[in-house]
């Protein structure tokens, strides 16, 4: 299974642990991710609300670059996934915008006809690889590990079609395929505060606190997510959350690809586990070592 890989900026910088785990598990799962040459910013959700047309144009350049390969574009970042899909949809639905974007691309010697499908890596892991295959490749079953599946907002809303916007299930099934238990986590699509962390920090920290409390009271040993921004807010800011809300949260926040990597028996240094801000706790380590 060969795809055009669009990494986005996060996984190349703050979230490079995500990238490392993707690089580690892809060959084992039979995923060939060929990075798009000369890719640029996805258009970014924040920029989209300031200069919409410009943002669409930047975004469309990536799609135009990808089109000649006639392969699905896969991205690990929920924001990139949302923006690229939005560009694609608007490009098809609004002739006026299509015309303008066409002109912008032409100025750069490019063209786009709207025939690229943009997918999230979770979609690929769940629908193309599938829980059965992953389960068959597991070397260390994660029996006893209780995981809170946290999807965040951008992957399921607005309805992108591959999972339910209110109660997504794909990551739950993947977690179960590794032998772990996916706990009942009603907050799985609630807001993590997103980029408010930069502008309204207290508010964002309180939102994170609700998510962390929810996971802990559901008896989860760790949270698993698939979005670089969600992961950073919950992981890196956990100590700040504790200070503001006077809590003692201590719950590791992993990427789903890291969890899969552990179950596939890969060494933790290949999966970027050492780069987590909240280190793996004792019970998690015990289960992982026992596994």
């Amino acid at each position: 299974m060969k795809y055009t890989y669009y990494p986005g900026c996060s996984v190349k910088a703050t979230a490079n642990l995500y990238q490392e785990s993707i690089d580690a598990i892809s060959p084992i799962l039979g995923l060939e991710l060929e990075e798009l040459e000369d890719w640029n910013c996805c258009g970014a959700t924040a920029y989209m609300s300031v200069k919409e047309l410009m943002s669409f144009a930047i975004s469309a350049r990536n799609l135009a670059l990808a089109e000649p390969f006639h392969r699905d574009v896969v991205t690990p970042c929920s924001a990139c996934y949302l923006v690229l899909n939005k560009t694609n949809q608007y490009f098809t639905e609004y002739p006026d915008l299509r015309k303008k974007l066409g002109q912008a691309l032409e100025a750069g010697g490019l063209s786009y006809s709207g025939n690229i499908r943009v997918r999230h890596i979770l979609d690929v892991l769940f629908n193309d690889v599938g829980p059965e295959k992953i389960s068959s490749l597991v070397k260390k079953r994660l029996d006893g590990l209780r995981v809170a599946p946290y999807y965040g907002c951008q992957i399921v809303r607005p309805e992108m079609g591959f999972d339910d916007p209110d109660d997504p299930q794909s990551m739950d099934r993947l977690i179960e395929s590794l032998g772990a238990t996916s706990v009942e986590y009603p907050l799985k699509t609630k807001c993590c505060g997103a980029s408010l962390m930069g502008t309204e920090e207290d508010l964002a920290l309180r939102l994170c606190c609700e998510l962390l409390t929810g996971a802990e009271s559901a008896g989860a040993h760790c949270i698993v997510t698939l979005c670089p921004l969600c992961q950073m807010n919950l992981d890196v800011y956990q100590s700040k959350v504790n200070r503001l809300c006077r809590m003692k949260h201590n719950i590791p926040v992993l990427y789903i690809t890291q969890l899969i990597g552990i179950a596939l028996g890969l060494p933790s240094k290949d999966l970027g586990l050492d780069k987590l801000a909240v280190k793996l706790t004792k019970p998690v380590k015990e289960i992982l070592q026992g596994a």
């Binding site: 209110d166 009942e184 009603p186 907050l187 929810g214 009271s217």
Partner: protein
């Protein structure tokens, strides 16, 4: 002498005159060929308006009539009758629609007037080519078919039967009674549903004029007003209705389980016996059980036959097959009721995944004294809830599901609140958008509930989840709602939540509608003839609608509508004869080449081939005048009366004749 057309322009108060320059239109009409006179009047449909036409016709000033006013669907018949009264063939009249399709839909007066001129010119041109047609009359069969045996069908059937007319009542379920039979109390009077419904059900079962076919479905409807041919499928009960005396031995001994006997209180909710051979509830009419094939051990595994052994009357018959009955009726009443909206599609509310989230119908069953909980309000684990939330407008007043208001939920939610307060010590929360307590005694009931310590929170519930934060919330449901009166998002832990689900069109209503040639609206309910003036009639003569088949309504309104429909049917029956469409198709034998192309086109099998003359002939009694054969005839041998080629060509010419 050339045709003399009288043109009558209606102002319709300001409805037409406000947007169309009547003087200009009249001046234009006067110059048209064949127009003998032009008059305009405030309301042409009023008595003085009609008299204008009548006196002109009687004085012999004109011989054709054009009325430019509203839609022909509204008043064509009114003016046809004026012609008839004046001794002129009603088919020498035509109507110009300058209201619905002109003054009401165009903003600009100049273009409205221009369009009205074109439409009027077309009608005048058409009027010249109109031909007198002979009235056709058919006898009306005095028997009536009522589809659906809920409170709507029961009321309509009893009204007709009491008036001495025969009724065939067809009910899909094993018993009549419908949803009302599942209720414990009815709002706002809190009288016992069974006490008012059961006597009527018994009356239906015993009435000499009512032929009750339960566990049966209408398969085919053919024919037309006064003479419908009906085919009904009697589904196999596997119990001989003539032999069975309803003793109940069979369901007491039956080892099969239609409703699970294990499981929690909510999974076991049921009104009647839970066995495979069962009655839907104990007061069922007819009081004859049915075998549920899906759970019957004999049908599934080939072994058991216990019911056969214990039946002293030998009424069990496993070899029974569906049978068909055909009969004729003169009129049809559709009273198919509703089905509740399935809230599991709203994932945020957790119905089907979270325990203790119930639908209103399930809650009704739980409250019913003869149900599996004996009328007790219980959580899934069998304990009494300490707090219950009632969520209004689930699936209704919601653009994602149904835009309409279901009209009954506010009131039954109040009834629920009262019952909970009466039976338990639980706190009750009503989550509402608006409280619509519009009927007789409804507002007073709401006022009473305010004094019963029921909490009302104005806001649409965002989600129901298990987002537990405290230890004592462990087994509770967390409702998150924006309290719009306080202006804050609230988080309310509750033991149980009842979802007031929308009333939806009954499953299969579209099939019934199609068989009866009536249309359904975008909400799936049948469209009435006129929203104000014809609420029980439909576009098809002889087909009437009652209850939720038309739109959501409560029991008082349904019963009123049922009596209205039965009186409309009685009025038809008493007439004995009815005029039917005279505008049929006709084959001109001399032109027919005998190619038979038309023979297979007719959906009513009205066209046959005369082997002797080698031409096709149309049976006018069967023809409904659609004109499909006319357009298909390669020799132009078929004419559609009142819509013939000449008339339509003339209309086209009129429309486009440059002013």
């Amino acid at each position: 002498m050339p045709e003399r057309v009288g043109v009558y322009i209606c102002h319709c108060g300001s409805n037409i005159a406000g947007k169309i320059d009547i003087e200009k239109l009249a001046g234009f009409a006067e110059k048209l060929d064949n127009v003998a006179l032009v008059r305009d009047y405030k309301f042409m449909c009023s008595d003085p308006g009609q008299n204008l036409i009548q006196s002109d016709l009687e004085a012999g000033l004109i011989d054709r009539v054009v009325v430019a006013s509203c839609s022909p669907l509204m008043h064509e018949n009114t003016f046809r009758k004026v012609c008839e009264r004046s001794g002129v063939n009603p088919y020498l009249f035509t109507m110009t629609n300058i209201r619905e399709q002109c003054s009401w839909v165009h903003i600009d007066e100049a273009s409205s007037t221009e369009k009205a001129m074109d439409l009027l010119a077309a009608s005048v041109r058409r009027a010249v080519y109109l031909e007198p047609l002979e009235k056709r009359e058919v006898a009306i069969n005095p028997r009536t078919l009522v589809i659906g045996g809920g409170i709507a069908g029961i009321q309509a059937a009893l009204d007709l039967a009491e008036a001495g007319k025969e009724v065939v009542l067809v009910e899909r379920e094993p018993s009549i009674g419908g949803h009302m039979a599942k209720f414990d109390k009815t709002f706002p009077t809190l009288d016992c549903a069974a006490c008012i419904l059961t006597p009527r059900m018994v009356q239906i079962g015993q009435h000499a004029n009512i032929h009750l076919m339960s566990y049966a479905e209408v398969e085919e409807i053919n024919g037309y007003v006064g003479n419908f041919n009906i085919k009904v499928r009697q589904k196999a009960r596997y119990v001989d209705a003539d032999l069975c005396n309803g003793c109940g031995m069979c369901w007491e001994k039956c080892p099969g389980t239609r409703v699970p006997r294990k499981g929690n209180v909510h999974e076991k909710l049921s009104l009647g016996p839970t066995s495979s051979i069962y009655m839907p509830f104990m007061q069922a009419i007819p009081a004859i059980p049915v075998i549920d094939r899906e759970s019957c051990l004999y049908f599934q595994k080939g072994k058991c036959r216990i019911c056969e052994q214990v039946c002293e009357r030998n009424a069990i018959n496993y070899d029974m097959e569906d049978s068909f009955e055909e009969f004729e009726v003169g009129n049809i009443i559709i009273a198919t009721g509703f089905q509740p909206f399935d809230p599991s599609v709203i994932k945020r509310y957790g119905y089907g995944t979270l325990p203790n989230v119930l639908t209103s119908v399930e809650f009704e069953i739980m409250n019913c004294a003869s149900g599996s909980t004996g009328g007790k309000i219980l959580k899934a684990d069998g304990t009494e809830p300490k707090s219950i939330g009632i969520v209004h407008c689930v699936g209704s007043r919601d653009k994602h599901y149904h835009e309409y208001c279901s009209r009954v939920c506010c009131m039954y939610a109040l009834k629920f609140a009262h019952l909970i307060k009466e039976k338990t010590d639980a706190e009750v929360y009503n989550f509402y958008i608006d409280l619509r307590c519009f009927g007789k005694g409804y507002e007073e009931f709401y006022d009473r509930l305010l004094g019963e310590d029921v909490r009302f929170i104005r806001g649409k519930v965002g989600e129901i989840s298990r987002w537990v934060a405290e230890e004592d919330e462990k087994d509770q449901l967390i409702v998150r709602v924006e309290d719009t009166l306080v202006g804050a998002v609230r988080r309310i832990p509750l033991d149980m939540v009842v979802l007031c689900t929308a009333l939806e069109k009954q499953d299969g209503l579209d099939r019934v509608a199609k068989m009866c040639s009536v249309s359904v609206g975008k909400d799936g309910f049948i469209i009435e003839k006129h929203p104000k003036l014809g609420p029980v009639s439909t576009a098809t003569d002889g087909v009437f609608i009652v209850g939720v088949a038309q739109s959501p309504k409560d029991i008082p309104d349904t019963v009123a509508q049922a009596s209205a429909a039965s009186s409309a049917v009685l009025s038809m029956i008493t007439r004995e004869k009815i005029e039917i469409e005279a505008a049929t198709a006709e084959i001109i034998e001399e032109k027919c080449s005998g190619c038979r192309i038309c023979n297979n086109l007719c959906p009513y099998l009205a066209i046959n081939f005369d082997e002797e003359k080698k031409v096709s002939i149309i049976n006018e009694a069967l023809c409904k005048g659609c004109g499909t054969c006319v357009a298909a005839c390669p020799s132009n041998a078929i004419t559609a009366k009142h819509f013939n080629d000449k008339q339509i060509f003339a209309e086209i010419e009129g429309l486009l004749s440059a002013r």
